[in-house]
Amino acid sequence: MIQTRPWLTYLTHAVLLIGILIVAYPIYFTFVASTHTLRDVVQVPMPSLPGGEFFGNYWQAVTAGLGEASGTSAVGAGRMMFNSLVMALGIAVGKIAISIIAAFAIVYFRFRFRMTAFWLIFLTLMLPVEVRILPTYKVVADLGMLDSYAGLTIPLIASATATFMFRQVFLAVPDELTEAARIDGAGPLRFFWDILLPISRTNIAALFVILFIFGWNQYLWPLLITTDPNMLTVVVGINRFLNVGDDQIEWPIVMATTMLAMLPPVLVVVFMQRLFVKGLVETEK
C-alpha cells in the first residue's frame, strides 16, 4: 500500500468479496440443487438452502447414475470417475515421460535430423484435436483403439509444451555438472537418472498438476471415441444424463454428478496451489 486511504481499503475488500461471490455462486446453486428431491428442485423458485437428500442423491449418482430405466445411462458416476482418473493419470504420466526423454535427446545430443525432430514436435502445437477430428478418429478406429484406455490417452500424450519446458529446464543446468559427471564415468542414462531427474523434480510435479487437470477435463476426444457406457468419462457422462429426450431431466442426480466431476481437479488446484501456479506460468514460457 502506497498511501493509506481507509475508504479505498474497504472498497477493495468489498469488490473482492463480490467478485468471489459471483465466481462461487454457480457452484453453490448447483450444490443446493444436488441436495434436494427432484420435486423440490423443479418448484419455482428453487430452495435457496441445501436440503436433506445429500447422501441419497450422491449415492445414487455414484452407484447407479440415472438407474436401469434409462438404459445406457445405468452406469454410475463412480465408474465414470474411475475412467476419468485413469485417463487423467495416463495423460499426465505419459506426457511427462515421453517429453522429458525427448527434451533430453534434443538438448544433450548432436545427431542428424535433430532440428527436424524439434520442428515436428513444434508442429503438434498447431494441430489440436479440434482441427483434425475425422482423420484422427479414423486412425484410432483402424488401430482398434476405440472404447479403450489406450485410445483415451495415447493419442493425446504428444506434447510440444512439455518438451519445450523440459528443454528450458535442461538448458539452465550448468555444463560443469555434466562435465563432472562425465569425468566420474557416468554415461548419458546414468547422468539423466541420477542428476537431471532429481534436478527437475519440482518442474515435474508442477507440470503433473497442470496435466492432471488438462486430462481430467478432456471433452471432445472421449466424446468421439467412447460409445460403450462403461468407458464414459465423468465430464462426458454429465452430458448423457442431460440428454434424456422428452423425459424429465433428473436435475438432482445430474447436479450431484456435476459436483463430483469438478471435485478432483478443484481440490488439486486448492491444495497444490503453489505447484499449480508454477506449472501454469512455466508451460506458457
Binding site: T9, I101, A102, F109, V131, P135, N239, M262, E284
Partner: protein, 293 residues
C-alpha cells in the same frame, strides 16, 4: 542457446525421441495430412472412388451462407469472451494487488474455476439460466423480462459467453496479478509522491507496463474461445437455437461427425488449421517476453 558439453551415442538419441515422434506422426501429422488431402477431393457416397477437385470444396465453403454466418458468430463470440474475461480479471487483479490482509485467501478463492472443465462450467450456467428452474430467469421475470435461451438466439449467445468468460477469469487474473507484482514499487511510489491518485497511477503507469501481459492474454483468450469452448457449446446449446451459437469448431464436428460430409468437413478443418497456425505464429513471434521488463 546450445549446450557446449554433449554426449555421443549412435542410437540412444533416436530411441529417446522415438515415442514422442511416433505419436506425433501417427496421431497428429498423418491425420492432418489426410485432412489436407480430403479437402481437395470429392468422394462418392460409398467412398469407393474419389475425384480431385482442387479448391472446389473451399469455394463451396465460402459460398455457403451458413459457414460465413458461423465465422461471424465465432468472431463475435471470441471478442465478447475475451473482453469480458479480461476486463473482469484485470479489475479483480487490481483490487487483489492492493490488499495486504487476506491476499492469499482472495487469490485461492478466485483461481479455482480454472480447474472446472468447460463442459461442466456450461452445465452450471445452464442450470442457473434454465427457464423453469434457474434463479436468473425467475428474477428477470420479476422485472417483466422473458428469458428463454432455448428459443432466443441472442440470449443463448449471452449464456455461452458468460459461461466461457467465467471459466477463463481465473487464468487471466493469475497472469495479471503476476504482471502487476513484477512492476517496481519505486515507480508507483514516485508517482504517488508527485500527487497522482490510484486511478491516475493505474492508467499512466500500471496499465502501460502490463501491455505485454495483456497482449499475451488476448492471444490465449482468443485461442480458448475458438477451440476450448467446444464443451460449453456442446453441453449447453448444441449450436442452437437455429445456429445462433454454431461456432466453427462445433460446426466442423457437427458437419463431419454427425453429417458425414467428408470433403466439406476437411476443408473446414484446413481453415481451422490456418487459424491456429496464424495465432501460434503471433504468439511466438510477438509475445516472446511476457512479464519481464
Amino acid at each position: 542457446m546450445e549446450k557446449r558439453v554433449v554426449f555421443k551415442h549412435p542410437v540412444l538419441p533416436y530411441l529417446l525421441l522415438a515415442p514422442q515422434l511416433i505419436i506425433t506422426l501417427v496421431f497428429f501429422i498423418w491425420p492432418a495430412g489426410q485432412a489436407l488431402k480430403q479437402s481437395v477431393l470429392i468422394e462418392d457416397a460409398f467412398g469407393l472412388s474419389s475425384e480431385l477437385v482442387w479448391f472446389d470444396n473451399f469455394i463451396e465453403l465460402f459460398e455457403d451462407p451458413l459457414y460465413l454466418e458461423s465465422m461471424e458468430i465465432t468472431a463475435f463470440f471470441s471478442v465478447c469472451v475475451a473482453s469480458l474475461a479480461l476486463s473482469a480479471a484485470l479489475y479483480l487483479a487490481v483490487q487483489a494487488d492492493r490488499v495486504i490482509r487476506g491476499a492469499m485467501t482472495y487469490k485461492t478463492l478466485l483461481i479455482w474455476p480454472y480447474a472446472v472443465a468447460p463442459a461442466v462450467a456450461g452445465v452450471l450456467w445452464l442450470l442457473l439460466f434454465n427457464p423453469t428452474l434457474g434463479i436468473l430467469p425467475f428474477l428477470l421475470r420479476g422485472v417483466g423480462y422473458d428469458w428463454n435461451a432455448q428459443v432466443n438466439g441472442g440470449q443463448a449467445m449471452l449464456l455461452v459467453v458468460v459461461a466461457a468468460a467465467w471459466k477463463q477469469i481465473s487464468y487471466n487474473f493469475l497472469f495479471f496479478l503476476a504482471g502487476m507484482q513484477s512492476i517496481p514499487k519505486s515507480l508507483i511510489e514516485a508517482a504517488a509522491i508527485d500527487g497522482a491518485g490510484p486511478v491516475r497511477r493505474f492508467w499512466t503507469i500500471v496499465f502501460p507496463l502490463l501491455t505485454p501481459t495483456t497482449f499475451f492474454l488476448i492471444v490465449i483468450n482468443i485461442v480458448f474461445a475458438f477451440f476450448e469452448t467446444f464443451g460449453i457449446i456442446h453441453s449447453v446449446t448444441q449450436g442452437g437455437p437455429a445456429g445462433a451459437t454454431n461456432i466453427l469448431v462445433y460446426k466442423v464436428f457437427n458437419d463431419g461427425f454427425i453429417g458425414l460430409d467428408l470433403g466439406g468437413s476437411a476443408a473446414q478443418s484446413v481453415m481451422l488449421m490456418g487459424i491456429v497456425i496464424g495465432l501460434t505464429v503471433i504468439q511466438f513471434r510477438y509475445v516472446e517476453r511476457k512479464v519481464h521488463y
